[in-house]
Symmetry: C2
Subunit: 136 residues, 2 copies
Amino acid sequence: MFSIGELSRRAGVKIPTIRYYEQMGLMAAADRSEGNQRRYSKDGLKRLSFIRHSRELGFSIDDIRGLLELSQHPEKPCRDAHNMAARRLDDVRARIAKLRRLERELKRISGCDADTIAHCAVIETLADHGLCEGDH
Amino acid sequence: MFSIGELSRRAGVKIPTIRYYEQMGLMAAADRSEGNQRRYSKDGLKRLSFIRHSRELGFSIDDIRGLLELSQHPEKPCRDAHNMAARRLDDVRARIAKLRRLERELKRISGCDADTIAHCAVIETLADHGLCEGDH
DNA sequence: GTAATCTCTCTAGCGGCTAGAGCTTCAAGA
DNA sequence: TCTTGAAGCTCTAGCCGCTAGAGAGATTAC
């Protein structure tokens, strides 16, 4: 059994965040010491690592609730888990596409070599969307 | 002079968002009708379009305050504007790179063709970061 | 004149944390 | 055993960039 600080270090998740996950129902309410401090076992660490990893991949708190629920039932079909991953993949791809457009536009306007605001492509472009190449 | 609804339609920015921008000091406090309703001119529309466009490119409210300030002084050098655009570009590129790594990982785990949770790569990977290919 | 539509201000909520106040508990050394 | 300093507790509030809703008043078309 270890403390929340120890869990925090081992999982790489900040203490207030762990408490937040408990509030949100991702982490089960932890066992307590006599003095009311949280005590965790390896299971807690596993679960927190699962959560952290899922967050890194961009799953929402709500998604993770679902994934955790699924992970408790190894005999169930994993269609739902696949669907969730696929949705995330779509989302990530859409965001990449959008950022690519932004990158192109920012690159273009950064290329301006004017000296003063009056002739600066950055400001000019922001003022007039018509000057943009693509859409965003 | 036109109403906030009209401005909203013309600029493609929702009404509460316009009022929010006013609160944040991006839009000047608008003129008012006798009955205390906001009235805008073409200048207001220009400014709001500038704001909208800047937001689309990912500039923060704070950045935009700076950009608007700059745009009012055409005689000034535009180094600051360039720096801001360059910082945004760096940021966008970093985010693209991160999303790319996520995409790869999600693609990999989505490729799993197991039937049950017990053998599902999605869940398995989330539970054990060691199974990931890259880092994220 | 009346009805339908806008607009007003104010407050609260979203997600996913993060920070701080003011207190209690724990663990290591003297 | 006592002390001290770190670590933990709960609770509330704040971050960003909006968005939603209540309950009121203004405007506009017929």
